[in-house]
């Protein structure tokens, strides 16, 4: 007899199946190349390359997974961890949609809204990349024009300026401490730069949760 699953349970079930299939397909790409072209990887190069890359990426990946899932919701998480570009595209897109729909992230309506926003964003991204690949030759001189370079270099500040003003103004009491801490750290610790902002997100999130809990217990929030 078919068991009646709740919507969330069915999202988890199909999400698991999809992500498992996508993982197999991703691993299948190099395997297929090996079989079709009859080659093996350079073992030493592969091990050294993995040693230089994987430990850091795995550590960041584990932390990011635990940090982003509560923000993305179920459907949004399964999709985002396949399509990537979470902090610079999928999550801002979901946050804006929740704001636009005026629904809470942890409600079922919020789950629906964030999934729709992330799914549409993933489809649009994939289609634009496909168009970019098809039109690569004529597009390259335009997209790599020195005049346009500063615009694409400043994508993150342009994104978080708009997003920040909405969320910080609405939650200014919560925001004061983490924004101040991050400003101090990024301005005065030279080691913090573009390459490690991803690592600082979980640090900032944990700090914000701790401070918020403290303020909540003291009756400030």
């Amino acid at each position: 007899m078919k068991k009646n699953l709740s919507y969330i349970d069915s999202v988890h079930r199909s999400g698991r199946i999809w992500n498992l299939c996508m993982m197999v397909m991703m691993i299948g790409y190099p395997v297929a190349v090996m079989i079709i072209f009859g080659v093996l990887p350079d073992t030493k190069g592969m091990l050294l390359g993995l040693l230089a890359t994987a430990p850091m990426y795995w550590a960041v990946g584990i932390i990011e997974t635990f940090t982003y899932i509560p923000m993305l919701g179920a459907g949004g998480s399964y999709l985002s961890f396949v399509t990537g570009n979470i902090s610079n595209l999928k999550l801002p897109c979901a946050l804006n949609a929740l704001e636009q729909a005026n629904v809470k992230a942890n409600s079922e309506e919020g789950e629906v809204v964030s999934t729709i926003a992330i799914a549409v964003s993933s489809i649009v991204t994939t289609v634009i990349i496909i168009l970019g690949v098809i039109l690569l030759v004529p597009l390259t001189p335009i997209l790599e024009a020195p005049a346009l370079a500063p615009a694409f270099a400043q994508l993150i500040p342009a994104l978080f300026g708009g997003l920040g003003v909405v969320f910080i103004s609405r939650n200014w009491k919560i925001a004061i401490a983490p924004v101040s801490l991050m400003l101090i750290l990024f301005i005065f610790v030279p080691a913090l730069n573009t390459s490690n902002v991803g690592i600082m997100v979980p640090v900032s999130v944990l700090f914000t949760l701790g401070i918020s809990r403290l303020m909540y217990k003291k009756g400030i929030l």
Partner: protein
């Protein structure tokens, strides 16, 4: 078969995976849309959310195409197309590819013609390094999100604050990041102020949009405020960079 980084077979293989990504996105979109209807959510509202999400995505997606062009110089088109359509981001993939190339005595950005075994090595390093989220999300998401629901049952107000704190924590990290080069100003280099100025422009556009919605009741503006703020901010970067560099 003679290997080439742009061999049609590689396009076909990458295309199959990208098609699966599209299928997954469409599947979840339809599933959520149907659920929205069951919950009695306004169809016009759902449509507006979709349009905004699509418009908002255009500029960042073009930036990803630039990433494909950047990586294609070393790796051909199919691999960057695949890696930036599935999981990857330009910064992660560049580091992974550079590390794999360096492990084989190559220099990233100066590779003219990869042989098949080098290509496979780079692909394996890029793929295995970035896989964590894809398998870990299915393992932990049900438990994590279940924990959020339990939290709400125990203390509704704290659960709402918890959610806000998550968002603010993420935004705070990126606001801090925008200021990471400001210290260069002390040595007379004003370029560290470029991201700060761009962020301010975007914030001002968003504030003006908010005021127009509030005072003039132009509700449609709120649908496009963030995408417009993003694009205006990016465009403003061109004169700001020329001014401060």
């Amino acid at each position: 078969m003679t290997f080439d980084v742009n061999h049609p077979v590689l396009f076909l293989l990458a295309g199959i995976v990208v098609a699966a990504v599209l299928a997954q996105s469409v599947y979840f979109l339809i599933k959520a849309w149907k659920r929205g209807k069951v919950l009695g959510m306004d169809k016009a509202k759902l449509r507006r959310i979709s349009v905004t999400a699509g418009v908002f995505t255009i500029a960042p997606a073009i930036a990803i195409v630039i990433g494909v062009i950047t990586l294609a110089k070393d790796l051909g088109i199919p691999l960057p197309w695949l890696r930036l359509s599935v999981v990857g981001s330009l910064s992660y993939e560049t580091i992974a590819a550079a590390n794999a190339e360096s492990a084989m005595g190559l220099t990233f950005g100066q590779v003219s013609a990869l042989i098949a075994s080098q290509y496979v090595t780079i692909t394996i390093v890029m793929t295995l390094s970035i896989l964590v989220g894809i398998w870990l999300a299915p393992v932990v998401s049900k438990r994590l999100l279940g924990g959020m629901i339990n939290l709400e049952k125990r203390d509704k107000k704290w659960a709402e604050l918890f959610q806000s704190a998550l968002f603010i924590g993420m935004i705070a990290a990126f606001v801090g990041y925008v200021f990471c080069d400001v210290s260069t100003v002390a040595s007379g280099d004003l370029s560290g102020l470029i991201p700060v100025c761009v962020m301010l422009v975007s914030a001002i556009v968003m504030t003006i949009s908010g005021l127009l919605v509030k005072k003039l009741k132009f509700r449609w503006i709120s649908d496009y405020a963030l995408p417009v703020g993003l694009v205006v901010g990016m465009i403003s970067a061109i004169p700001i960079t020329a001014w401060l560099s």
